[in-house]
């Protein structure tokens, strides 16, 4: 199954659930009306959190750049030696 279809069906399922909640009014309607807003906010938070965690774990490796410079020098010397 194509991924858009998966995602769309998930969205439809959530919407259906929400409409059912509205109809059944198990919880006060004013709350139910706000649920989509919470959902979007939650999604945004998830995104921000993941980007934040990713950025924190994303290491810069100055020592790698130094090692590479050494390797380049070595390679240049090594090739001249041949």
């Amino acid at each position: 199954m194509k991924y858009v279809i998966k995602i769309l069906s998930l969205l439809i399922a959530i919407t259906a659930f929400w409409i059912a909640l509205l109809e059944a009014s198990v919880i006060p309607r004013s709350y139910t009306w706000l649920l989509p807003v919470y959902f979007v906010v939650l999604l945004g938070c998830y995104g921000l959190l993941m980007v934040g965690i990713g950025l924190m774990r994303f290491s810069t490796c100055p020592q790698e750049a130094r090692l590479l410079q050494q390797d380049i020098l070595e390679a240049k010397r090594g090739r001249r030696g041949q």
Binding site: K2, G47, M50, G54, S59, A65, R79
Partner: protein
């Protein structure tokens, strides 16, 4: 086990365009880090005006024409087709794809090979986004862009791979052949399409951490149009896989 050891041979495909300063270094480093491994290097050069091919010919004198192969094309035809062109000439049962610009350090090759032997994976891909991996030479803005792009793709596509746009990979030859024939994208998106399609086809994919050092020689061409291409590619993959 004995037999498997004997069967593992590697074709290393290196596409080049104006990499005169880098190609000799990278070939030297590959030979340095792959002792006791049966491999060939296939340089796919797209008629670089800077004389990359002359350097490769000199390298052939040094390392032997059956170890360093030059499979040139007359003009710049793009990276995706460079890979398939190289693959046509690859004679070994495993194929490694890496850049010539020293962003992909050959010292990681043994860990790709080890990982593949340990796990029997169809594809081993390098990843910058796990412990032990990383980048050097990117400013905060570029890192942020990269992370955002990654989170978006992870959320929408669930590829099961942490780094989608990294091109440093080891493939079983038959798997590469199978996947590459279904891919149409260009640039970064091509790497993403390859791995997503491979993942959807149920191939066993493993990862090894690599550090990516931004190119030392030559100029980088990362810009806003790349982001637009990326988003288009993401949408394309959403509707086709």
């Amino acid at each position: 086990m004995e037999q498997q050891k004997e069967a593992n041979k590697y074709s290393i495909i290196i596409p080049t365009y104006n990499e005169r300063l880098n190609i000799a270094l990278i070939v030297y480093l590959v030979f340095k880090h792959l002792k006791d491994v049966d491999f060939e290097i296939i340089v796919v050069d797209d008629g670089s005006p800077d004389g990359t091919q002359e350097v490769v010919k000199q390298l052939q004198q040094v390392y032997g024409e059956d170890c360093v192969l030059l499979r040139a094309r007359p003009k710049k035809l793009g990276l995706g087709t460079a890979y398939s062109h190289g693959m046509k000439h690859a004679s070994r049962n495993f194929v490694v794809i890496m850049d010539a610009d020293l962003s992909h350090h050959p010292k990681y090759l043994p860990s790709f090979i080890r990982k593949q032997i340990e796990t029997g994976a169809n594809i081993v891909t390098g990843t910058r986004y796990v412990q032990g991996g990383g980048v050097h030479g990117w400013n905060l803005m570029r890192k942020l862009t990269s992370r955002r792009a990654n989170v978006l793709a992870q959320t929408l596509l669930w590829p099961g791979v942490s780094d989608l746009t990294e091109s440093f990979r080891l493939y079983k030859r038959a798997v590469l052949e199978d996947v590459i024939s279904t891919c149409v994208s260009k640039g970064y998106v091509f790497q993403m399409e390859m791995i997503v399609r491979a993942s959807r086809k149920g191939y066993h994919i493993e990862e090894v951490p690599i550090t990516f050092v931004d190119r030392v020689y030559g100029s980088s061409k990362f810009g806003g149009s790349e982001i637009v291409e990326y988003l288009k590619g993401l949408a394309y993959l959403l509707v086709t896989t």
